[in-house]
């Protein structure tokens, strides 16, 4: 299981006079089991990429912990965790800057194989070809090419092959298909899912697109993030068909339907404002309060905590409306 517990990530923002801390990820606990899928959904700036980097072992959390199969990552003074962090690989959004322009595909793939001695030296070439074949590429065509000679889809497949080269147990895919041509997006998604299934890899899929999230995590879970916090968490179908948090409803309402009547069967909810508050100046109460169409006085005073919805185990929401409804019932 890849899990983060109460993770807080702060960054220092330099100002003319001194610097100030900005909390980008605030007390987030999410987890994913092997061969399961967790989707993290939220708009840009909600901290989902930072959370992905923390999960992948690239950024140390300011507070809280990340564990992979029970081993603690970021163990100060103990370098062994860096080896553990190999179990989690990150796939970036931009397949154009994530491949070194001066390395051929072969060099890119063989470097970690050689360094970690994953396969004997004599088998490295074979392993590279095998990795490429698994991601649906023809090794003969691409192996000696430079990244700029490949298409966006091919690059993203190479990136996937590169991630698989170190035999990961978990893959964090950060907007992994948003820069792939629309026509090949679904094929890429299927490839991700197929490989994750076959290798029993746990997938953390970060996206801003509920449609993608639903497709990827059909059997899995979705965490909706807003301004560094998880505001709703639950099984994919539950979150999409019975959303509880106003923000989730807003996000779902913003999906353009492909066909009249093909809409989600939920009431459209629109925010009061389209301005996202600055992370440097968060509202004192609920972070969504300034935009929430249902906000009432209690929302301005204190932050609601993530708690399980009554009669719906596994579905968590951070909203005072839940308490109100329960009170009414």
């Amino acid at each position: 299981m890849l899990a983060c517990n109460d993770v807080v990530k702060q960054f220092a923002i330099r100002r003319t006079w001194g610097s100030r801390q900005v909390t980008v990820v605030n007390r987030v606990s999410v987890s994913v089991e092997a061969s399961h899928v967790l989707c993290i959904v939220g708009e840009s700036g909600c901290g989902k990429t930072t959370l992905g980097k923390v999960l992948a072992g690239l950024l140390a959390p300011t507070l809280g912990s990340v564990t992979v199969d029970g081993t603690l990552l970021y163990h100060p003074g103990n370098k062994a965790w860096e080896r553990e962090a190999l179990k989690i690989q990150l796939i970036h959004q931009d397949p154009f800057s994530t491949l070194n322009p001066v390395h051929t595909v072969r060099e890119e793939l063989s470097l970690p194989l050689l360094h970690h001695q994953i396969v004997p030296k004599s088998l490295v070439g074979e392993e590279c070809e095998h990795l490429l074949t698994r991601t649906g590429l023809d090794p003969k065509v691409v192996i000696d090419k430079y990244p700029h000679e490949l298409s966006g889809g091919q690059r993203q497949r190479v990136v996937l092959a590169r991630a698989l080269s170190v035999r990961p147990r978990y893959i964090v895919a950060d907007e992994a298909v948003s820069m792939v041509d629309v026509s090949s997006r679904l094929i890429m998604l299927d490839l991700f899912l197929e490989i994750a299934q076959k290798e029993r890899i746990g997938l953390v899929f970060i996206t801003h697109d509920f449609g993608l999230a639903r497709y990827v995590a059909l059997e899995g879970t979705i965490a909706v993030m807003y301004l560094g916090r998880v505001v709703e968490f639950g099984g994919t179908e539950t979150v999409i068909h019975q959303p509880r948090h106003p923000y989730t409803k807003v996000l779902l309402s913003s999906i353009p339907p492909l066909q009249a009547g093909d809409d989600f069967k939920i009431d459209k909810v629109y925010p009061r404002s389209f301005d996202v508050p600055s992370l440097e100046l968060l509202p004192p109460g609920c972070v969504f309060e300034p935009r929430c169409p249902y906000a009432f006085d209690r929302c301005q005073s204190a932050l609601p905590v993530l708690s399980t919805v009554v009669h719906e185990p596994g579905h968590q929401v951070a909203c005072y409306l839940e308490d109100e409804e329960t009170a009414v019932v």
Partner: protein
């Protein structure tokens, strides 16, 4: 075909530089031939005889039109004849240039290489330690040294190390008492005399390289593939190697071009330290309006820059696979 075309363009550029140099230096105020003619007239030489004397002395027909002079000059140039100096009467230009070139190449190539590598090292270190005291200090220092012209640095070095401390010799590039040749004493003397000029060059040049390396390295660090190296558990040495390799690429063209510009010599440094190199030759021949020497030096300089440009383009596609020339 492409190479052929670029070679043709290079030739045309050299011809244009030669032509422009020829006419522009004749537009400068001051005319050595006219001065010599005046002197002869004052000495009481009849004007007709003075013209003949000038022709014999300088191999110039003073009453020729500029166009005829130009065509003659081009004709000689095509035969490898750069003409003869007007100031050093009768000495051909080519040997003068060839005698000056080694000193310049020695000083500037060493200075350029040292400053390039110092800049590369500092730039990468600054980029790795972004927003620390090291970054603040070194970036400021690099900017300051980048801003100080090298004749000031040279002058300060000269005064401090030869006059006050008396650590290094003043002027010239070797001790005139030693016979030039490949002897230990001569080489040691040249090395001893080169320290200050090279240091002055390095101090003037390393800041530029540092700042360009810093921005290149920071761009590379911001690229996702640096992160991809980390997440695949590559060692910091491997990551550093990738960082340096990718940061050097944008600097490469500048470096090769500087190799071409170096034929122009570091004019002020060579003047300050009285080094008989190409820069010194540029300065003295211009001051004395020695037309043939000026033309020759400018031709060599322009040719070197054009060749370097050609080399930079050709080599760049070798080291950066993205570029196809």
């Amino acid at each position: 075909m492409n190479t052929l075309r670029r070679f043709g363009v290079a030739l045309i550029m050299i011809w244009m530089v030669v032509t422009l140099t020829f006419f522009m230096i004749r537009l400068m105020p001051g005319n050595p031939i006219f001065d010599a003619y005046q002197t002869l007239l004052q000495q009481g030489v009849p004007s007709q005889q003075a013209l003949v004397q000038i022709h014999i002395l300088y191999d110039v027909y003073p009453n020729q039109s500029v166009v005829v002079q130009y065509l003659l000059y081009m004709w000689h140039l095509l035969h490898g004849n750069f003409g003869t100096s007007v100031v050093y009467t009768g000495r051909p230009v080519l040997p003068i240039i060839l005698a000056a070139a080694p000193w310049t190449l020695l000083l500037v190539s060493i200075g350029l290489t040292i400053s390039f590598f110092i800049g590369l090292l500092l730039g990468v270190l600054i980029a790795l330690h972004r927003n620390t005291w090291f970054d603040n200090l070194m970036s400021q220092l690099a900017s300051i040294f980048h801003g100080i012209p090298n004749y000031i640095t040279g002058f300060v070095f000269l005064y401090f190390f030869t006059v006050i401390l008396n650590w290094f010799p003043f002027g010239n590039i070797y001790n005139p008492a030693i016979h030039p040749g490949f002897s230990y004493g001569f080489v040691a003397s040249v090395a001893y005399h080169s320290v200050l000029p090279i240091a002055a060059y390095v101090f003037g040049a390393f800041g530029t390289w540092t700042l360009s390396t810093k921005s290149a390295a920071m761009a590379v660090l911001g690229d996702d593939f640096t992160m991809a190296d980390r997440i695949r558990g590559l060692t910091s040495e491997q990551q550093l190697e990738h960082l340096v390799h990718n940061s050097v690429l944008p600097l490469f063209t500048g470096f090769v071009l500087s190799l071409g510009i170096m034929f122009g010599g570091a004019v002020f440094i060579e003047e300050t330290f009285s080094i008989p190199g190409l820069g010194y030759l540029v300065a003295t021949s211009t001051a004395q309006r020695d037309y043939p020497v000026m033309q020759g030096v400018f031709l060599v300089l322009a040719g070197a820059v054009i060749v370097a440009n050609f080399l930079a383009d050709t080599l760049y596609s070798r080291i950066d696979p993205r570029i196809r020339v």
